[in-house]
Amino acid sequence: MNPHRRQVRENLLLALDTLRSHKFRAFLTILGVLIGTATVIGVASIFKGLDQQVVDVAEAFGTRTLFIFKWDPGIKFNLSREEWMRKPLTFDDMTAIGENCPSIETVSAETFRWGPAVSAKYKGQEMLDTVFRGCTPSHFGNIGCELKDGRLFNEIDNMHRRDVVVIGADVVTRFFEGEDPVGKVISIDGRNFEVIGTMAKRKQILGDTGSDRILMTPYLTFKKIYPQAKENFITAVALPGKLSQATDEVRSLLRRRRNVKYSDPDNFNIATAESMITQFRDIMGTIVLVTTVISSIGLLVGGIGVMNIMLVSVTERTREIGVRKAIGARRSDITWQFLLEAMTLTGAGGILGIIFGCTLSFLIRALVPQLPSTVPSWSIVAGFVVAVSIGLFFGMWPAMKASRLDPIVALHHE
């Protein structure tokens, strides 16, 4: 069945010639495939953009960092009773991890209070949706926070429980427009703090998840103000290449410290950048699938259009088929002729659809900055391949029909 290369070229030229002779019809047929491909690529690019954001955020935290908390970091609505009853991780857990786990380089802890955000004030301006937390000095490095101005607090600030604060990028823009924030005094929950440093803007998912509205004070300062703050979020950085080993060490240490019975599951959670990405992909998996299926329906409709037009084309050119058969064309030649014609049609539609889809994705990125949609490279290849295979699939039947024509009957046809 495999035709000679010259025959392929000849068939291709023949196909292009047909397209040229029926410009408008070819354009309409292509249009269906074009719209279908463009929709699929547009939708895929949105998900790719979202995925890229999650990967960026997770990797900004550091690929060697373990995040240890009493709950899973993922989105979950119904916590079980066991989960609700879990006791918080403690500062001592953090010290123990630092001392007893040989694969761990540094550890740090962040402490916070449940309940609504505290308000921050500066020169008559007020911010209600702040994220006020305390952390040990090494925490900034562990979560991949970059300093922009001033300095981070150090162990001495922590030991002296000094009222100093390092502020996030959004706090800077809200309070210190055209002003140097370092050295200024802001009031947080009715207490005065000196701003000693600012953080660079962090990568976030879908615009705003609060990591730029942060007000970070030394761990012990926070404890001084809110002695009842019990929750701890611990991060531990593993030595290079020892991530899984470090996870095991931390896990067995915490199980011992938290008296988890041999047969019981962990009553805490250790997450890594990788596990967070996997979790996100698990959640998104079905959504992506459903959306992709729905958007491929356009392609299906376009494919049906191709099949229809190919059938018409076969009927119209019955005589031509008869002539070709009479002068020695084999079945396979006729089949390939029509298959290639259909594939050329849909392939052209696919290419145009890819261009259109890329434009669409570019427009989305320009209009909705929170959602940096990017066209995934595989979708360009997939778009083209799928478009061509649609031609192959939906062209198959008309082509077979054409090839099975009896040359005598076909020549008879007026």
Partner: protein
């Protein structure tokens, strides 16, 4: 074909007034039958063309149904505050995190005095009740069994007429229970299932938060919302709640009107009374929130409206693809039938007749596809409803059929006008 020609020759002679209208009707009817005939003679091609419209319509209506189903679910389970009822609370619900933070700090909670004040001063309401929730862990115990985290709330006796709960057996508490801070409770189905699977719960004593309450009534099952059971509650008289747990509870006051119009009037009345009582200056915002189901629904719309609109928009594009298929096939059909058009023209068919013939053919094709699509989407919606939620909106049926017909009309215009403009001599010369 001869009949067609006869009809047209007949029509040529009639041109005035109502008869002209009648003539147009005849043409249309004629064209309709020709269209059906054309569909029948090219069965396969018609099926394929229909298939495009069918798939497009099915997808469109199915997506609309899921969206509609989700909206209905929210309206029924979340935004349903009771018939003609609105709730006065410390803040306006579902207004976003920041405004909640502001309202939470600025607004004072609604207190018993304010409830009593409204009860006396509000004119012409059907019912006014109040409830207060106890937050935190309320575990219910009976006969060695424990049910964790039941919703414990104190209510006025008339809340049974306002809220969603219905008495299944026993009774709700009365004015007398309320006045005497009686140690009685009204429980949800989940407690009955847990504690009294085979015995009558009435007059048994259960313990909630360490206090013993006599069960006086059971509510009929409400069901779940997002998988969360709504039947895990214990109602006690508001006064009992004050006596045992909180002396000055924070209330949600439910006001029920006789009809939706009056509800709007009552909302304004409550707003005026509360502002006056709280001495809110003229230019200031309310220091309380008035929540009705429409404000909750509009919050939901704000949250999801644009996403839904975009999804429906994307799916509607498929209709265009379906339309393009029709246009393409009609063009091919015109080319094939050039000879027939030539004959019809030479026998006196006017441009209008030919135009009508092909436009109606395209529309009939699209409308059939649309109708099949509507039927299919009913089946899909029925299946989706079993695992998720979906409800075909009545207007979607109309939209489906009208939209597909319109698509057929629109995409039929170009091929039809092409056919109508054919020169009869040229057309006749074309080989059939």
């Amino acid at each position: 074909m001869a009949e067609v020609a006869q009809t047209q020759a007949f029509l040529l002679r009639r041109k005035t007034g109502r008869q002209r209208l009648f003539g147009a009707w005849i043409t249309a009817r004629e064209a309709f039958w020709i269209a059906l005939e054309a569909l029948r003679s090219h069965k396969l091609r018609s099926i394929l063309t229909l298939l495009g419209v069918v798939i497009a319509t099915t997808t469109l209506i199915s997506v609309m149904s899921v969206v509609n189903g989700m909206n209905l679910y929210i309206a029924d389970k979340i935004a349903n505050l009771g018939a003609n009822t609105f709730i006065l609370h410390q803040w306006q619900w579902a207004q976003g995190y920041e405004s909640w933070l502001k309202a939470r700090r600025r607004n004072k909670p609604i207190r018993i005095e304010e409830f009593e004040f409204l009860k006396v001063n509000l004119p012409n309401y059907k019912n006014i009740g109040a409830d207060a929730w106890i937050w935190g862990e309320s575990d219910a115990k009976y006969g060695g069994k424990t049910l964790y985290e039941v919703g414990l709330s104190g209510r006025t006796p008339n809340m049974i007429d306002i809220g969603q709960e219905k008495v299944e057996s026993g009774r709700y508490f009365t004015e007398s229970d309320y006045q005497h801070s009686a140690m009685v409770c009204f429980i949800g189905r989940d407690l009955v299932d847990e504690f009294f699977p085979s015995i009558d719960p009435i007059d048994k004593e259960i313990s909630v938060r360490g206090a013993n309450f006599r069960v006086i009534g059971v509510a009929s099952r409400i069901g779940t919302t997002f998988g969360e059971s709504q039947d895990k509650f214990v109602h006690i008289p508001l006064t009992t709640l004050q006596k045992l747990f909180v002396a000055r509870p924070q209330l949600a006051v439910s006001v029920q009107a006789y009809d939706p119009q009056q509800m709007l009037v009552l909302e304004d009345e409550v707003r005026a009374l509360m502002r006056a009582r709280r001495h809110v200056p003229y230019q200031e915002d309310d220091t309380f929130g008035i929540n009705a189901s429409d404000t909750l629904m509009s919050a939901w719309d704000r949250l999801t409206g644009s996403i839904f609109a975009v999804t429906i928009g994307i799916v509607a594009v498929f209709m265009v693809v379906g339309g393009i298929v029709i246009m393409n096939i009609m063009l091919a059909s015109v080319t094939e039938r050039t000879h027939e058009i030539g004959i019809r023209k030479s026998l006196g068919a006017r441009r209008r007749d030919i135009l009508m013939q092909f436009i109606i053919e395209a529309s009939v094709m699209a409308a059939t596809g649309g109708a099949i699509g509507v039927l299919l989407s009913f089946i899909i919606s029925w299946i989706v409803d079993m695992v998720f939620t979906s409800s075909v909106p009545t207007n979607a049926v109309v939209i489906g059929v009208i939209l597909s017909t319109a698509v057929g009309l629109f995409f039929g215009i170009y091929p039809a006008s092409k056919a109508a403009r054919l020169d009869p001599i040229e057309a006749l010369r074309t080989e059939a």
